[in-house]
């Protein structure tokens, strides 16, 4: 894999405008830059432990038909955890379904925040851009705080922001693939293209992917399968938390430029004269 592009590709003198404490979405300040998806955890107990280990304050939930025989309440668990819910529209394939689902989620969870997903392809679960734009426009008009799951297309990201989305959530690679960030260059371009938070969503496989997202300038990372389906989800939640913090620190610290040749880190000045060079005798 070629070297990922870095902040060095940004224009010289670019202000690190996002170097600030905490993440702010639609006026709400979050201390954690890790969003957690609740799907795929083997048990509600592990989910609760992973939420605690991740320190995430914003977690996604889906809306599905109620199962009266289900054991344990996800709603109660998340209320006890003190996290803010981010309902998603997973499984929706049309703007109409996504809008209805968001409206139902608003009724169920008393939040007007929504992670907007409109899926266009079953194999890749890639977003359907025209339907996504249509749904986002309608939901913004209906007063929602819309966080759209989108492709890594800077133009689409800007269109979504132009119609009023509160953040954009570009994918690194397909949902659940664990393939990491396939086009880091585009993620950097999205960061330059919009003035709302960029949340890297989908494709995160392990901690280094999350750190890279932050180094590229993302404001937050969303992880679901990478944590939930890890052999030890609670340990991976800790790893993701550390990686997001590390990546954020590295981004704001300003990394060194990449160079083709070595640059000595030890000065040559003051080097001792140890006689003529030659073979060891």
């Amino acid at each position: 894999m070629p070297d990922p592009p870095s902040a060095q590709l940004a224009p010289e003198g670019e202000p690190r405008a996002l170097d600030r404490d905490g993440l702010e979405i639609a006026g709400r300040r979050l201390h954690s830059r890790l969003l957690l998806g609740t799907g795929g955890f083997p048990s509600l107990e592990l989910l609760a432990q992973a939420i605690a280990a991740s320190a995430s304050e914003l977690v996604t939930v889906a809306l599905r038909r109620i199962d009266p025989s289900a054991r344990g309440s996800l709603t109660d668990l998340l209320a006890d955890a003190g996290v803010q819910l981010l309902p998603n529209t997973a499984g929706c394939h049309t703007a109409r379904d996504a809008v209805r689902t968001a409206q139902l989620a608003r009724e169920a969870f008393a939040t007007d925040w929504v992670k907007l997903e409109v899926i266009g392809d079953e194999d890749t679960l890639l977003p359907d851009a025209p339907e996504l734009l249509a749904a986002a426009e309608e939901l913004v008009a209906d007063g929602f705080v819309v966080l759209p799951y989108t492709t890594d297309d800077p133009v689409l990201a800007r269109r979504l922001v132009d119609i009023g989305c509160a953040a954009v959530m570009p994918l690194g690679s397909p949902i659940g693939s664990g393939m990491g960030i396939r086009n880091p260059y585009n993620i950097s371009l999205i960061r330059e293209a919009v003035d709302v938070p960029v949340v890297l969503d989908a494709g995160i496989g392990t901690a280094s992917d999350a750190a890279l997202a932050m180094e590229l300038g993302c404001d937050a990372v969303m992880a679901a399968s990478a944590i939930a389906r890890a052999e030890d989800p609670v340990r991976m939640a800790r790893a993701m938390r550390a990686a997001v913090e590390a990546g954020r620190l590295a981004r704001t610290a300003g990394r060194i430029p990449r160079r083709l040749f070595a640059t000595p880190s030890t000065p040559n000045e003051g080097l001792a004269d140890l006689g003529p060079s030659g073979p060891l005798t």
Binding site: G39, L63, R65, L104, M222
Partner: protein
Amino acid sequence: MIVLNGQSSDVRPGETVAAVLRRLGLQADARGVAVAVDGEVVPRPAWQTFALAEDARVEVLTAMQGG
């Protein structure tokens, strides 16, 4: 016949949304629950009064784990 969450049901026309929720063992103020009838959201304040028509399609939804 009234269809409840995709299954035929013995819910009678004229029953309210609140009555359907009671059948499912839910309180009238159940948090984390939303109801749609014929594809349209039934707001929480209307649950007590919204009477179901014949052939209504009722969806009772709640939080599930999801990314």
